[in-house]
Amino acid sequence: MIFQTFINGLLIGGIYGLATIGFSMVWGVMGIINLAHGAYIMLGAYVAYVVSDRFGIEPFLVVPLAMALLFVLGYAIQAAMLNRVLKTSLLLSLALTFGINLILVDLVVMGYTSDFRAVSTRYASAALEWGDAFVPLARLGACVFALALAWAFHEFLARTRSGQAILAAALDREVSRLMGINPSRVYAVTAGVGAALAGAAGVLSSMIFPVSPHMGNSFLGAVFVITVLGGIGSLGGAILAGFVYGLIQSFASAWLGVNYQEVVAFTVFLLILILRPQGLLGKKFFGEGQ
């Protein structure tokens, strides 16, 4: 039983981690708390729902499409609106992303109503047996896929010019400008990649959770806690904290009941704030000084 709870928490944790990376990077690099991040996750889930429902395509194969669409959306929103606001006041980004979230959620409600949807796969009920525990295949696949994407993002940051530019802008905006980096473009790329990862997380979670226009809101709460837990702007921290959060949630609901799931999560949240406000793997990032 303990082992089963452990596995459940771990498998969900991978998706939580992936869902958090974009939010955490955007916060760390630009100081923007993106309230529309949950909507990005939701849109990813809807891409999976629409494509796999209509064309019967394997949800895992929809990930690249969802990522491409959300990259364009995240990039466009940053370039057209958020970059402009950043020049005046960082805080306005909060009002702006709040508005964007309302728009995105309502557009989906208009197109697909508020009904709960499900993305079903052939292997939805298949599971590996490991000792006395079951490992559901869909969840295992989603978790592995999430980790692979996180690793790919890490490689992107470490090896490509764009990735290095993002890290440089995150460390020091002014000096990065002196190095010939265009902050506006870097920000747009960061926002685009962040949205793409959120979209991927949405596709993966559509196989596990019910899909609805408002699913992003509950995700946003979790993503917020995980970001702080892992350290704002830290990729490794987001993944690690995603697992920690998944495990906490899973054990809390197994031992104390589902009602206590959130009490425990927020207790941990408060403890982290008091004991280690920079998070598990946090270090100083540009956005933090704001």
Partner: protein, 320 residues
Amino acid sequence: MTTASLRGRPLLVLAAAACLLALAAVPWLAGNYWMRILTNVLMYCVVAQGLNVIVGFAGYHAFGNAAFFGIGAYALGAAEVLGLPFLAAIPVAAAVSAAIAALVGWPLLRLRGHYFAIATVALTMAVGELVTNLGGVTGGAQGLALPLTTDQSPDQVYRQIYFLMYGLALAATLVVWHLSGSRLGYALRALKDSERGAMAMGIDTRRAKVAAWAISAALTGAAGGIWAHWMTFIEVSSAFDITLSVKGYIMMLIGGMGTVFGPLLGAAFFELFSTLIWSRFTEVHNLVLGILVCVVVLALPYGIWQPLRRFWQARQGGRA
């Protein structure tokens, strides 16, 4: 410049007086529907002004003022259950909120920037969970039904609530107006620019910050208390609703933070428009509201109030 702003004053006073009179006449001129909406607008005026004190003046981004709204609501509910009359319970709600803000503000206001903002969100959730699990006089997870002891008709109750919100919004604005010229106000603005600089000037920054948050909490708590009496039934999910914090914040931003009248304009603008939009485009009201927020933020990054005032002054200056 000074003469221009002086000449602008009578107009401003006149406009404010006209607004006050019109609002005072609302219960006799408008139907219950509009009185209800305006009660809501006035409530958000108080919430936005409360945020203005801690965010606009002190620069501490309190995302979680819903905590004090909820505390005020539950304090009033508990006081009424224990037999206190409504009007006497409102100061209790304000005082309890202020006391809790001072208590938790002492450690929390040490956190800076984003961390303070996050901590206030966590505070809202923690207090909400606490109330849910506390039970007893708070009603716990079942919610709290306030005792109906009054022999007033519903119309009289709604009118009373309207005037209480009206008075509270006025009081909140007077507090902010007084603050903007007071020692505490200058101390807060100084520490907003540079906390170390303010300390070097001999300002007890911690006391100033705690005082600002307590004032903010007292206003928000009183609004929460009146709201609880209005609703007659409260539960944790509606009293500690984080949306209230976010909405109040956006109203303050749209209006112009750190100004005396900005938050009022922001609250009226946001709440009236969202109601109008809701009644006209029920299906897509969030969409329209979202577009409106985006347009306002992009077009008026310093809020509605500042450009309005500048326009005013420019016109006065041009005439002179």
